[in-house]
Amino acid sequence: MNEYFVRNREVLASKLGDEVVMLDVDSGFYFGLNEVATDIWFFLEQKKSFDELIQMLIVKYDVGRELCEKETRELLHQLIEKKLIYKI
């Protein structure tokens, strides 16, 4: 698949322990990310393809590809909806 993702640079983020809290400067809303979402967030500092993302997650979490792809799609969808990342 040739989809690429990158994070939104207008979002201000701060790492607090294993979690990340972020502020969308335009809306003034705060968000918290859990461990997996945090990993994705840091990984997407540079644009990455869906496959590269899955590869990283499979290795880190020792999980099957099919499950990983399904759950990652859902998570990416939420992150895009909240304008924290973009699909390019």
Binding site: V21, L23, G32
Partner: protein, 294 residues
């Protein structure tokens, strides 16, 4: 902050200085703020990036400008104690905000040159806790406001606001402090100020421990819980700031940075106390144990 004022503020610390004051307070007519500079307005106040006006009925109108000037237009037959207290709590807050310094709504004591901060809603026990700790010999730093140093260093430092503790009469009586020299803050209100000018710490200090005080109907004895990460951020965000008009001046980024700095720099604990029962001694014991162990 070095302040030059036409109007005497016994709450502030008198000092001699020869450089230009950072803030000038004077009496005068209140200028009209041009509409295009106002970002939010209601019956009581107008706020712009560098202009802030608030009218307190029966007291005065205050105008804070450019982070360096406060103009006061007192109303006829106002009480000057009222004028000062509203100036300190509203106009000063606006001035700090215009200077891009965001006051945190917390009390603080100092231990080994570092700060323990106390956040909590009114009624959660901040004053009683602070009073008890001071009576036990802890060093007072601030009554209810600390201001971050806005120099971008690795560790955030906080300045105290001014050397006056504020207590309701019941709190003073519960603490056994009612005989201390005190001054009624505003006419008609049972709240008193106790000065600590000779102990006032004017240098900024580094906070290392944050305690959030909450009331709860779910418990019968006070408890304590360490919090981290997003929960710590959320709790701080709930309690850190007081004046809702801060939200209207577009300072979200600075608030965010301030809270995240505090959440990563200090260890955070929530202490809950049972509502409707005086458990101040138990809370102070929990706090002393915590301070000794951190």
């Amino acid at each position: 902050m070095k302040v030059s004022s036409e109007f005497f503020f016994p709450e502030l610390c008198p000092i001699n200085f020869t450089e230009q004051p950072e803030l000038l307070i004077r009496f005068g007519n209140i200028p009209v703020i041009p509409k295009e500079l106002i970002s939010f307005s209601n019956d009581f106040y107008d706020i712009g990036q560098n202009d802030f006006r608030i009218t307190v009925e029966g007291v005065a109108t205050f105008y804070a400008k450019n982070g360096n000037e406060i103009i006061i237009a007192p109303e006829d037959s106002c009480d000057y104690d009222d004028v000062r207290i509203f100036c300190l709590s509203n106009a000063f807050a606006a001035i700090l905000q215009q200077q891009k310094k965001i006051p945190l709504h917390c009390a603080a004591i100092m231990k080994n040159e570092r700060l323990v901060l106390f956040f909590g809603n009114s009624g959660a026990g901040k004053s009683s806790t602070l009073g008890s700790l001071i009576l036990k010999g802890y060093t007072v730093f601030s009554d209810d406001v600390c201001v971050p140093d806005n120099i971008l260093t690795d560790e955030m430092k906080l300045y105290s606001s001014y050397p006056m503790l504020k207590f309701w009469r019941n709190t003073l009586e519960n603490l056994g402090m009612e005989k201390m020299t005190k001054r009624r803050i505003r006419p008609g209100i049972e709240k008193f100020g106790i000065y600590f000018h000779e102990k006032f710490i004017t240098e900024p200090k580094i906070p290392y421990l944050t305690i959030i005080l909450e009331e709860s109907t779910d418990i019968i004895i006070p408890d304590i819980q360490k919090i981290e990460g997003i929960l710590a951020f959320q709790k701080l965000e709930e309690h850190a700031y007081r004046n809702e008009y801060l939200l209207h001046s577009g300072l979200s980024k600075e608030h965010f940075n301030s809270i995240t700095k505090l959440a990563s720099q200090t260890k955070l604990y929530v202490i809950r106390r049972p509502k409707d029962r005086n458990s101040i001694q138990e809370i102070v014991n929990l706090i002393e144990k915590l301070i000794d162990s951190e």
